[in-house]
């Protein structure tokens, strides 16, 4: 998630030497800790999207937001799924559109997310640092699922768990906005963990 508790572990999807591995492709990233209650919802949605086997869509799950810059460099379109805390009803799904072609994230997103993530470096910081470095994909959506709790070791709360199919559908719908990308590369879908 993009706030103060989102600091658990994640495995990098690529162990490369600084170059992104999705040149021109489409990437879905589930962000969050697997061990902190609803913070895992991004990863669960990523699993659900991977299970659909969409050709040409790489799916990965991550936690350290600084890794994202390298991960999405070179991708044409990226969807990041993350837990959010905005005051909405738990399980609500919201979409934020940005990307090199989009506008800078609002200061509110920056100040909230800037305080979270690993050592005050959150998702919004990763987006804006990528933009400053010219490494932000042309299209980037953040699909946020409103979380209820972030207890250590807790499973997803019922309303957030129930929102996973809707959030996965939202991801697919967003990718559908670019039909020329989805399915154009062939091959199966792989979750990189």
């Amino acid at each position: 998630m993009s706030e103060a508790v989102g600091t658990g572990a994640g495995r990098t999807g690529s162990a490369g030497d600084g170059t992104g591995g999705t040149d021109g492709g489409v990437l879905v990233i589930g962000l969050g800790s697997p061990d902190r209650g609803d913070d895992a919802v991004g990863r669960e949605v990523a699993h659900a999207v991977a299970a659909l086997g969409l050709a040409g869509v790489a799916v990965s799950e991550h936690e350290d937001p600084t890794d994202l810059i390298e991960l999405w460099s070179g991708a044409a379109a990226v969807v990041v799924v993350d837990a959010v805390r905005s005051g909405a009803q738990p399980g609500s799904v919201a979409v934020l559109e940005t990307g090199a072609a989009g506008g800078r994230l609002p200061q509110s997103a920056w100040s909230e997310a800037g305080r979270g993530g690993t050592h005050a470096f959150g998702l919004a910081a990763a987006v804006e640092l990528s933009r400053a470095l010219g490494r932000l994909p042309a299209l980037l959506w953040v699909v946020g699922v409103e979380a209820a709790g972030f207890e250590h070791g807790a499973p997803l709360s019922p309303r957030v768990a129930a929102a996973v199919p809707e959030a996965a559908g939202t991801v697919v719908g967003l990718l559908g906005l670019r039909p020329e990308a989805v399915g154009s590369r062939g091959g199966g879908t792989d979750v990189s963990r």
Binding site: A4, T7, G8, A9, G10, R11, T12, A15, D17, G18, S33, D35, E63, D64, T66, D67, I69, E70, S111, G114, R115, G117, T118, H119, A120, F121, A125, E128, L129, R131, A132, L133, G134, H152
Partner: protein, 436 residues
């Protein structure tokens, strides 16, 4: 935000401090132009880890306490392992000692690279943050990201995950990485070491305010090598004691304005400092030749007492961490057992290691079945709170003519000298300035 008071004084309050871990605030009061009060207010709620460790098994502290912090989980894992093993009377073999040091190098790399490039360098180069700095200095930021990534990869390979490693257990590891897996990291670590040397030269050229700390320095020290994962305690006034005696010398106490305990050394009212400056000043002779030469070329003497130069010391410590990682990887042979048994017994155990921001101490009391009866954790930011406040008290006096924006920026830079981890300490920052 600052406002004038009816009696002519001035108050400044800085809301949530940026680019530090956790939540805190800073309050400064001026009366007739003189600084009368400086408080670092840590308001992130205390997390009661010590309380909920009671009743848990002696095998659990490495996983439970690692969750205190996303940036220094290895420090928590190592200090807790040492303490539990001490209580149970178990020594671990050389291979496990080496692998602990290698994992810890990964954490130093992640933490120091993040702090130098994304959190602290913008202060010196005159930017509000890394994003603004990246527009003018993209190569510097890209270098920092590559250097940090080398640490993430090392943590991933040794610890099983790049943020909260899951491969550490009391007695060792669940699995040791193979020589082949470790060798695969070599090119990235070599490049990063070269880039760390360039980083030392870069940050040594920054403009540093004049400030010499008179405080006591405290760090670990080992018989051979720079202190990272273990050691016994030494101080700049010549004190030396084993980790087992830590609580005889360090007393924690509560102050009303902070949720984090403060600490004092040997009853002294004067602050003491842990972290890179203390570590370097008490152990510069133990650096590898390449790191020592980097320090010399950066103009560091054998000691460093200017807290703003901590960014140079962190860069030197990055050189050391990459160098140590390469040394351990080059010497690694497969075949060792990943762990030794740690059967429980009743007793008290003590452990300490050098977290990126200073000495982290753990103490546990176990019953005969290994159930934790008492736990104590003394994180580095708690120990550094009095010295952070003392630095600010000294500096804000000379900065009293600055406007609030400039004053806030300078204060935050001074606080970031310590790379404070407030999540750990509460167990950080709004600024208030009161000028009357």
């Amino acid at each position: 935000m600052s406002h004038k008071l009816t009696d002519g004084g001035r108050v400044m309050h800085v809301g949530t401090l940026a680019r530090v871990e956790g939540e805190g605030a800073m309050h400064i009061e001026y009366r007739d132009g003189e600084v009368t009060d400086v408080q670092l207010r840590i308001y992130e709620p205390p997390r009661f880890y010590e309380a909920f460790l009671r009743g848990r098994s002696h095998t659990e502290p490495p996983d439970i306490t690692a969750r205190i912090c996303g940036i220094c989980p290895v420090a928590y894992q190592m200090s807790s392992c040492w303490a539990i093993e001490d209580a149970c009377g178990v020594d671990v073999p050389e291979e496990i000692l080496l692998m602990r040091r290698l994992l810890y190098c990964g954490e130093w790399i992640e933490s120091h690279a993040l702090h130098i490039f994304l959190l602290h360098a913008p202060d010196f180069l005159g930017y509000d943050g890394a994003i603004e700095m990246a527009a003018d200095h993209p190569d510097v930021v890209e270098r920092g990201l590559r250097m940090k990534k080398a640490g993430n990869d090392l943590m991933d390979t040794v610890g099983g995950r790049s943020v909260h490693p899951v491969n550490v257990r009391v007695g060792g590891f669940y699995r040791l990485p193979t020589r082949l897996e470790l060798r695969a990291l070599r090119p990235r670590l070599e490049r990063a070491r070269d880039e760390a040397l360039q980083t030392v030269a870069l940050v040594a050229g920054f403009d540093f305010p004049d400030l010499e700390q008179p405080y006591e320095y405290l760090s670990l020290r080992t018989g051979a090598g720079y202190p990272i994962e273990s050691g016994s305690v030494v101080t700049s006034s010549g004190g030396a004691f084993p980790v087992r005696e830590f609580t005889r010398h360090i007393e924690e106490f509560h102050v009303e304005h902070s949720n984090a305990l403060h600490a004092r050394l040997d009853g002294s009212p004067e602050p003491y400092v842990v972290g890179p400056l203390a570590r370097y000043s008490l152990n510069s002779d133990q650096l590898s030749p390449v790191a020592r030469e980097a320090a010399r070329s950066a103009g560091l003497g054998t000691t460093c007492r200017n807290p703003f130069r901590s960014i140079v010391v962190r860069a030197v410590e990055l050189v050391e961490a990459y160098t140590e990682a390469l040394r351990i990887i080059d010497g690694w042979t497969d075949g060792a057992a990943p762990s030794v048994a740690v059967p429980p017994r009743a007793g008290e155990g003590f452990g300490a290691s050098e977290a990126p921001r200073g000495v982290l101490f753990h103490r546990y009391v176990l019953d005969a079945a290994g159930i934790i009866q008492d736990a104590q954790i003394v994180p580095p930011t708690s120990q550094n709170q009095p010295s952070i406040e003392a630095d600010l008290r000294t500096m804000v006096q000379s900065w009293s003519e600055l406007d609030d924006h400039a004053l806030q920026h300078r204060c935050e830079q001074a606080i970031r000298n310590y790379d404070p981890c407030i999540s750990c300490a509460t167990h950080f920052l709004d600024l208030t300035v009161d000028r009357r």
